[in-house]
């Protein structure tokens, strides 16, 4: 059974700042939605509101679960991969992945054989078999990101929230992680909501893109519709050219020198798109 997420008229005010205003966003079961937007647009706050970590007005429905439900119930529906996970010093990979079983086992109970089985299966699926006795801190960046993902998958939630899952990784590992998420989504029918800075990657992985700017959803749609030169100029203040590739638009930044050479006004050039 897969879940769907629906957000209606979401408002979040943090320390007097109106961070999110009237957000409407939906993800159907098995869909991958990427949320893009400039720094400070409210992407992480949106994820935190979904997780129930910040007070909000409006409606958030996660497969029938609303904010009236307890934290553990929410954690069984929603798994979270934060942008900068806190890695406890000395914690072993096995213990770290078993943390993902917390919402199922209860805070005071020991993990069951079933919990351990899920942890082992998850570790193997993410190519971390044999890493159980290693400290999470001692892993490389790519391995560590897979360990964090393993913890989230061990939650067996239907919805996966990823906050900038590729930030600290090189290109190869960025690709590995996103491919892995895509494969897992197909295997398990996961609904994925991710924030991404890399627009080309956001166009490649995922079904739809939502642009978040100044706390509002500026546009939602398939990558080719949302990732236009105008949108990127307006919301990111970036001058780019869009190159059409069979797998989706490629966003290429233009330097100031390049701009003066081509003699076009920043933000108006439409690249390869007619």
């Amino acid at each position: 059974m897969t879940a769907a997420v629906s957000v209606r008229a979401l408002d979040v005010t943090l320390d007097g700042t109106h961070v999110l205003r009237g957000i409407d966003l939906a993800a159907s079961a098995g869909e991958w939605v990427n949320v893009i937007g400039p720094n400070g647009a409210g992407k992480t706050t949106l994820l935190r509101a979904l997780l129930g970590l910040v007070p909000f007005n409006g409606e958030i429905d996660i497969d029938g679960l609303t904010d009236q439900h307890r934290r553990a119930a929410r954690a069984r529906k929603l798994a979270y991969v934060p942008q900068t996970p806190v890695i406890p010093p000395g914690m072993l990979v096995a213990d770290y992945v078993l943390l993902g079983r917390t919402p199922h086992r209860g805070v005071f109970a020991a993990e069951t054989a079933h919990d351990r089985m899920i942890a082992v299966e998850t570790l193997q699926r993410l190519d971390l078999g044999g890493f159980e006795e290693r400290a999470v801190q001692s892993l490389s960046g790519g391995e560590r990101q897979r360990a964090v993902l393993a913890r989230a998958l061990a939650q067996q939630a239907d919805v996966l929230l990823l906050d900038e899952p590729t930030t600290a990784l090189d290109l190869g590992h960025q690709q590995d992680v996103l491919e892995l998420v895509d494969a897992l989504r197909r295997e398990r029918g996961l609904t994925v909501i991710a924030t991404l800075h890399d627009l080309t990657l956001a166009a490649r992985y995922g079904d739809r893109i939502a642009i978040l700017a100044q706390g509002k959803v500026a546009q939602t749609g398939p990558p080719t519709e949302v990732l236009t030169v105008q949108n990127i100029a307006a919301h990111f203040g970036a001058t780019v050219r869009i190159v059409d590739d069979p797998e989706g638009p490629v966003i290429v930044p233009i330097t100031a020198a390049g701009r003066s050479q081509s003699g076009t006004e920043p933000g108006t050039q439409n690249g390869d798109q007619p």
Binding site: L53, A94, L98, V107, F108, D127, G129
Partner: protein, 356 residues
């Protein structure tokens, strides 16, 4: 990349780092050695095997002849045993509270005195001593009562002030520092105005494991039991909290509630320990860290083992305090630091474990 293993076989191989039997046995052996040493060594030397027989004889349904004279039996049972028991309880409580504070605040420097317990207890004791509230004994002694009240008030004020400042662990720690500074200033003022009580107050501050019969250990026992019951129950929750409030909440925990319960329980035990034995520093930091270095960082192991090794450490420190300059006694706070610091550096050097 490692070869994937069949799930069934590996499923049984995956182990969570809990309290392993070998660690538990090591802790129990440490307690046993400390207790026997504490009962055996002193101005009158009493053979260890006779001490063991005497203890077994005291158990209900066991009749053994230890061969000790009545006087020696009295030394063991009425003088040394209560003192050893108090050392165990105070050491266990302070170590466990320290470990709990470190887990709850995710801060290696947290100790049970973080939220002003030491300063509050110090002020309470100073007021009680300088105002000559009379010489009750045991449960009616005004000095520990005033220290206990001062400690609890300071923790409560720190917690309330910390919540006003935005509920983060940092604001709580800063509130604790502010409260501690304020209370220390008050204590210094009272002290300056009553310089004749200087020596007595100073002796209290440096701490001691002193007993007059069983009243102190009996007084301490319920606080130890309550603190241990709550803190040990939350050992798994503290492991979840190790990933930070936000991620812990995303895993279904209520981080602030867990922190409040653990900190208040740990504070209650520490306040009781401070009121019966003064300000014994260092134990709450050094024992939990030594346990982490030796047995890993999971609170499922660190908390119970801090109880055992903390108790054993305090009994041995008290043994050193009363024998090193016998018949004079060293303040135990001096001994815990004097023995504990080099020992800890040794553990730090030999362990390859990453604990913080």
């Amino acid at each position: 990349m490692t070869e994937p293993q069949p799930a069934g076989a590996a499923g049984t191989a995956l182990k969570a780092s809990g309290l392993r039997p070998v660690s538990l046995i090591a802790g129990l052996v440490a307690v046993l050695v400390a207790v026997i040493a504490g009962l055996t060594i002193g101005p009158v030397h009493i053979a260890a095997h006779r001490v063991v027989l005497q203890l077994l004889d005291a158990l209900p349904g066991v009749a053994l002849d230890s061969g000790l004279s009545d006087a020696h039996a009295a030394i063991v049972e009425q003088i040394r045993l209560p003192r050893v028991a108090l050392g165990l309880l105070v050491g266990a409580t302070l170590s466990m509270s320290g470990a709990a504070y470190q887990g709850a605040f995710r801060n290696p420097l947290a100790d049970p005195y973080l939220l002003g317990i030491a300063a509050g207890a110090g002020l309470g004791a100073t007021i009680a001593i300088t105002s000559n509230l009379g010489d009750g004994a045991g449960a009616l002694d005004p000095v520990p009562l005033a220290a206990f009240a001062g400690a609890l008030i300071s923790v409560t004020v720190s917690y309330a002030a910390g919540h006003l400042g935005g509920r983060s662990t940092a604001s709580l720690i800063l509130a604790g520092i502010a409260v501690a500074s304020f209370l220390t200033a008050c204590q210094t003022y009272v002290l300056q105005a009553n310089s004749d009580a200087f020596r007595q107050i100073f002796a209290w501050i440096l701490g001691r494991i002193a007993t007059s019969g069983w009243s102190e250990p009996v007084l301490m026992l319920p606080y130890f039991v309550v603190t241990a019951a709550v803190v040990l129950r939350y050992r798994r929750a503290l492991d979840v909290l190790a990933v930070g409030d936000e991620e812990a909440a995303a895993l279904g925990l209520e981080p602030r509630r867990v922190r409040m319960i653990v900190v208040l329980a740990a504070s209650l035990g520490a306040a009781a320990a401070v009121s019966v034995s003064g300000l014994i520093g260092f134990v709450g930091i050094i024992v939990p860290h030594a346990v982490r270095l030796a047995f890993g960082t999971s609170n499922r192991a660190v908390l119970p083992l801090s109880v055992l090794f903390g108790g054993a450490f305090m009994v041995l420190a008290d043994l050193a305090a009363r024998t090193a300059l016998a018949p004079a006694e060293l303040p135990i706070g001096v001994v815990t630091a004097f023995l504990g610091a080099p020992f800890f550096v040794l553990v730090l050097r030999t362990s390859r474990r990453e604990i913080w």
